[in-house]
């Protein structure tokens, strides 16, 4: 790997195109947006770069802070649910018979192959008032009433006079369901990788020493899977925090997230400088989370692998 020094031509041939690509299509637009965030809107499309901090001050307005907080809340709940569900799924796959494992993994990844928009509309079809969930519930309601009629007590209307569909769509619940659905694979894959790599004898040693299954999970599996848990949490939390399609399509009037506000600044509100400032605040938060993780893992490594 270090022999590129001997053959600089090959090194440059391979290094320059991706570097140029990143510079042109990632760093340059990003730098532009960063500069815009210090600008002022003048007229319909012009932006004057005045190096003002007003856009950032405006982002600290309680109205926006509240949306930031709400976004964190959504992303946090999503991550927590993903962690619990993801652990169960990852354990199930790890301990599944060898031939079933690739199939189960494929099932976890399969939704990735479908467009996010289509998946979200599918969720709408399931959750809406006349959707699959309510249809199933109504079926059970009819069935229950039939049973009551058989017992001759249908006139008591124990299940209500008529079926009341659940309101599962266009609220915060729907947003969290949607976010969990979309982000679950991000949690399952690192957890599965860690559990699959983990030497089974650690678990067996814990059982052998007298610990039960739960104690083994708490004292051996979780600590040993900690790096994967942290990775999973970050790669779930960060994109969940920046979601805009899911709250847009599944949420109600009060469930918009910060990305919806940003989108509106760039589009309907036509206020690029403010949208840019909001974007960068979101990015700084993400950087902070990743930095926290590096500090944590550096300290962990230093503690464990001194030898």
């Amino acid at each position: 790997m270090d022999s590129w020094r001997k053959n600089p031509l090959i090194f440059w041939v391979f290094a320059v195109p991706p570097a140029a690509w990143l510079l042109l299509f990632f760093l340059t637009p990003l730098a532009l947006i960063w500069v815009f965030s210090f600008g002022e809107k003048s007229g319909l499309i012009d932006i004057h770069i005045t190096w003002t901090a007003d856009n950032y001050m405006r982002a600290l307005d309680p109205l926006y802070l509240q949306i930031f907080l709400k976004s964190f809340w959504f992303a946090g709940v999503t991550t927590a649910v993903c962690l619990i569900v993801g652990f169960v799924v990852a354990i199930a796959i790890t301990f599944a018979p060898g031939r079933q494992r690739p199939i189960l993994l494929l099932l976890v990844m399969l939704p990735f192959w479908t467009n996010l928009l289509i998946r979200t509309y599918a969720l709408i079809a399931i959750l809406r008032t006349k959707g699959s969930v309510n249809a199933a519930l109504e079926h059970f309601w009819d069935w229950g009433n039939g049973l009551l009629a058989l017992l001759g007590v249908e006139h008591l209307q124990l299940l209500g006079a008529q079926f009341e569909p659940l309101h599962l769509l266009y609220n915060n619940f729907a947003v969290v369901v949607g976010l969990v659905y979309v982000h679950l694979p991000f949690m399952v894959l690192p957890l599965y990788a860690a559990l699959d790599r983990m030497d089974r004898s650690y678990i067996e040693a814990s059982l052998d020493l007298g610990a039960g299954q739960l104690r083994t999970f708490r004292s051996v599996v979780i600590p040993m899977a900690a790096p994967a848990i942290v990775s999973g949490v970050i790669i779930t939390f960060v994109p969940a925090l920046g979601s805009f399609l899911t709250p847009d399509l599944l949420g109600g009037t009060d469930s918009q997230m910060i990305a919806n506000v940003i989108e509106r600044q760039f589009k309907s509100a036509n206020d690029w400088p403010f949208g840019a400032a909001l974007s960068f605040i979101l990015m700084y938060v993400t950087f902070f989370a990743i930095a926290l993780r590096s500090v944590w893992s550096a300290r962990r490594d230093a503690r464990e692998a001194l030898a």
Binding site: A205, S206, L207, G210, L306
Partner: protein, 362 residues
């Protein structure tokens, strides 16, 4: 140590894995209280499966296992009076050495005040008294193994199971640890059951050895008995070096068995049993003598050509061939310093006492 009551009884245990691989085939075995017992065999012979059945990680397809008089059927690993030292040691990397040793006591609800003392005693026992606050990552392979031993012994199990405990160590350390394990077993008085594929390990450490192959126990015996009186061809070849001959039976009369051996000719051996079928003959290389002249009666002797000599320091192995093409291996002790310069070549007489010939019924 033999003659004590059995602490482990394995009764007609078979194990077939999903997919049809039969790991154990009707195994019967009794292991005595306080014994250092070795399960010896080539890889894939079922010895590790048997150990894992004792620990409770595998369930026998048929048959029963009794430990300390209790049937272990449906008894989960954490409720068995045994502890295990894993081949990979499985010392928890996220805990200190002391926490590793204390883990088994904590999870099984030992008196909290007693734990630090018992942990320290266990660490002292394996000479790691000063290492309690270290992390496993800071220890050498041999030290990590001692942690695994302390962690298992601190629970005072009725039986300690050791799965290839020395295979991850280098040769020098392995020999030290062999002695160390025997010393430890004598100190704590716990029954040790060790799985190994290394015959030297089993011979030097164990009180008794069970030799296994293809899921079956072929012979259970003390080390000396196993080496000198192997019951069949596999055991004779697996334990130590041996010269194996095929003998065609030409008659038995008055305690003398006459055989025709390919490459040697006619051989007469004392044999109490009236055998009327062909047999295998086994002679250990160190039972054979290498002589310049044909010896007096009382020896079986054959002339052979020296082909190659392998020098091993304390002994040399001489490879010869009879004029009828049979290969022989003789081991000679280099019991003088002059032996290093001695040249062995040409035609020699290979001789051994008839009673040192082992008759292996085919």
């Amino acid at each position: 140590m033999n003659g004590n009551s059995p602490i482990i009884s394995i009764n007609s245990v078979s194990k077939t894995f999903p997919g049809g691989v039969q790991a154990l085939d009707n195994v019967d075995l009794e292991i005595c209280e306080g014994e250092f017992f070795a399960l010896l065999g080539p890889s894939g012979c079922g010895k590790t499966t048997l150990l894992r059945i004792l620990a409770g990680f595998e369930i026998p397809s048929t048959g029963d296992v009794f430990i300390d008089g209790k049937n272990m059927h449906r008894v989960v690993p954490n409720r068995r009076p045994v502890n295990m030292v894993f081949q990979s040691y499985a010392v928890f990397p996220h805990m200190t050495v002391a926490d590793n040793v204390a883990y088994g006591l904590k999870v099984s609800g030992a008196e909290r005040r007693e734990i630090p003392g018992r942990v320290q005693d266990a660490l002292d026992l394996v000479q790691l008294g000063e290492y309690g606050q270290r992390r496993p990552g800071q220890l050498s392979g041999g030290q990590v193994q001692r942690v695994a031993l302390a962690r298992a012994l601190v629970k005072k199990p009725r039986v300690l199971l050791l799965d290839e405990p020395l295979s991850a160590l280098d040769a020098q350390l392995r020999e030290t640890m062999q002695l160390e394990l025997v010393r430890l077993q004598q100190t704590v008085g716990i029954t040790f059951v060790i799985v190994t594929h290394d015959q030297n390990e089993a011979l030097s450490m164990a009180d008794r050895i069970a030799v296994m192959d293809q899921g079956k126990v072929l012979q259970v015996a003390r080390p000396g008995e196993l080496y000198e009186f192997p019951r069949d061809r596999f055991v004779a070849e697996f334990i130590g070096k041996t010269n194996l001959f095929e003998g065609t039976n030409v008659g038995w009369e008055a305690g003398i068995l006459s055989l025709l051996v390919n490459g040697l000719g006619r051989v007469e051996l004392p044999c109490a049993e009236h055998l009327n079928h062909d047999v295998g003959l086994a002679v250990r290389p160190e039972k054979m003598l290498l002589l310049d002249e044909r010896p007096d009666h009382g020896y079986l002797a054959f002339e052979a050509q020296v082909e190659k000599i392998a020098y091993y320091g304390s002994e040399s192995r001489v490879f010869l061939a009879t004029n009828r093409g049979l290969a022989l291996e003789v081991s000679i002790r280099n019991d003088t310093r002059a032996a290093a310069d001695e040249q062995i070549s040409g035609l020699r007489w290979v001789a051994w006492r008839p009673e040192d010939t082992l008759i292996l019924p085919d």
